[in-house]
């Protein structure tokens, strides 16, 4: 006999949303490790992470669509549905950006001078931290918690750090002796990675507004 539990559909949806947050978090971590592998010239390790991030991006898309479908079909959270779906869609953009950045590295194979590698690694770290803080804020938003402000502040902080790293890197790139074409290539990679943190901050700003709207 099937086990009937009260609010079983709600619990399923909660699990799916938690899984989505896990996917984004894992995506950012896999992205960070992938960048490290690339900087260490570990081709096998980098490709493994590349495929890992791609798979997570695909999983994120599927989860987001399923959550969207269920929210509409079961007419759940009518007051907040639009806001929640906006949040999920823009958060999914983070996974898309991570995947895009990894593929850019895989296809274009930019060469980095040794003196740039540390700052490049720090940029990836800041971006990953920004995404981690955002995921914590998201979980808190869904659970009506009170540490939302703290996590949103951290997103802003790490986004600023990522911007600083990005500016420092670009300054170093354009001060070096390499060809202009290589400089542009590296600039494009830096901007692409930095945009992940920018997206995280945009989602954090949306969260701030939705949290206010959600107040009883």
């Amino acid at each position: 006999m099937p086990k009937i539990t009260l609010f079983s559909k709600t619990k399923e949806l909660e699990s799916q949303t938690d899984e989505f947050c896990n996917t984004v978090s894992e995506g950012a971590l896999a992205f960070k490790i992938g960048i490290h592998r690339y900087l260490e010239a570990d081709t096998t390790g980098f490709e493994e992470k590349l495929h890992h991030v791609s798979k997570l991006e695909s999983t994120g898309d599927d989860l987001r669509r399923e959550i969207q479908r269920r929210l509409y079909v079961e007419t759940l959270i009518p007051e907040s549905r639009g806001d929640v779906l906006d949040l999920l869609e823009h958060t999914d953009d983070i996974l898309n950006a991570c995947d895009g950045a990894m593929w850019q590295l895989a296809i274009e194979k930019p060469e980095l001078a040794d003196d740039l590698k540390t700052d490049f690694a720090n940029l990836a770290e800041s971006v990953a931290e920004a995404v981690e803080a955002l995921v914590r804020a998201l979980r808190d938003f869904f659970r009506g918690g009170e540490s939302l402000t703290d996590d949103m502040h951290k997103v802003g902080f790490y986004e600023s750090e990522a911007d600083k790293m990005g500016h420092k890197l670009m300054g170093a790139i354009f001060s070096s002796d390499i060809d202009l074409s290589r400089k542009n290539q590296l600039r494009s990679v830096v901007l692409h990675i930095d945009s992940i943190a920018d997206t995280a901050e945009d989602v954090s700003d949306m969260l701030a507004v939705f949290a206010l709207k959600r107040a009883i």
């Binding site: 709600t10 619990k11 007419t75 959270i77 009518p78 007051e79 869904f142 009506g144 009883i216």
Partner: protein, 497 residues
Amino acid sequence: MEVAVLIFLSSGLFLGWSLGANDAANVFGTAVGTRMVKFSTAAFVCSAFIIIGAVISGAGASHTLGKLGAVNALGGSFVAAFSAALTVYGMTRAGLPVSTSQAIVGAIIGWNLFSGFPTDTKALFKIVATWIACPLLAGIIGVILFKATVSVVKWAKLHIYRLDAYTRLGLILAGAFGSYSLGANNIANVMGVFVASNPFTNFNVGDFYSFSGVQQLFLVGALAIAIGVFTYSKKVMLTVGTGLLPLSPVGAWVVVVSHSIVLFLFASQGLEHTLANAGLPTIPLVPVSSSQAVVGAVIGIGLLKGGRGIQWKVLGSIATGWITTPVIACVVCFVVLFFMQNVFNTVVYRDASYVLSEPVLERIKKDGVDIERLKRLKDQRFKSVREFRRVLREKVTPTGPVESKILDRAKIDVVLIRNDKIWQLDNTSLSKSQVSSLWEIVGRRFDHTWMLDDALSGIHEEWRSLPDTTANKLNNRHIKEQRQQVYNIFRVKPKQE
């Protein structure tokens, strides 16, 4: 039942329909309007619990309405209910907020003015005071409940989906409670005017349950309300929303529960009984406005949030409606009564004759009223209440309560205890001892009902009213109802009919 009776009841059914169409939105409006609850679910739950509330607990509030004015002819009841329904319908069509409770009170006062019967100022004061108390109480309860709910929700840290699911369930349960309270409290508006001329008689279901005539009357009214809910309330529910203040679903739940608590408080005979037994002041059982309770709760929450977002203009128009509704209903009722009586020759009230005989004067004296000036009118007979009141005011100038006492004692209301009608006592709530008391006075005639009361009280203690205190209130009301049942069976109708 005669067709004429059904026709007269139709105005009450029309009023019931409009109550269902309008007031269901107070209970389920936000839930359905925000798509938290499907309309079909809301309509079913609302209808079922309105019927249950009306049948089980509807009697309390109807007593108070009956005290305000006992509309004693079906034609009059028809007009009173029709006038109230017309007022509600007209104001709804004009987009103005309206209260069914206030409309029916205005109509009853209109009937009193037309028939010449006095308006019980004590009952009127109680009702008007309740109209003020109702939104205030709803506001206070709303504030307390809102703060408690916010604290619990914050502490529980529920997932947004879980909170949504609980809120939906809460809205349905609150809606059920609200519907029960609406039925219990407002059925008096719909069918209260027909109680005095109730065409239904008690019937027993085996030996274990007696379905009284009043309960049957309320069931019919509740069915009309339910039909109103199903046929028209969806439109009203879907347009109810943020008219006064934008509310979240949880806020809406708080408003519905606050509204339900207030309506329940003003309808619950059980609560009255408990308070009376404890010697505490009781809450008057009065039909209160469902709309006003919602407004009170919403304003309470709005003020708690700092007063921002409250549409004060909307509130102003609601407050204006509280005054204009009873006035309009009163005027409409008066005018329609005039036409019904003089153009359609319908009996809209049964007048009474009055006499200040020696026994009556002695009884009035026993009630604590000075009869010196009344002696001037001794043995004079008055054919109508209007005539009698005019003479009383000219000669004696009594105050309201004193006038009521004199009218009550002097009213000729002949009761003859006939052998061939005693069997009808089987369908009443009288005990065996009480029935035996009646057997002892078979064949006797009483020109005034108080004479019968005194005779019965002298025979058995179960007919005696206890001292008029809070603790004895329910017991005395029960005895009064039993006496009324006896009058209805043995009353001798006046010859002029």
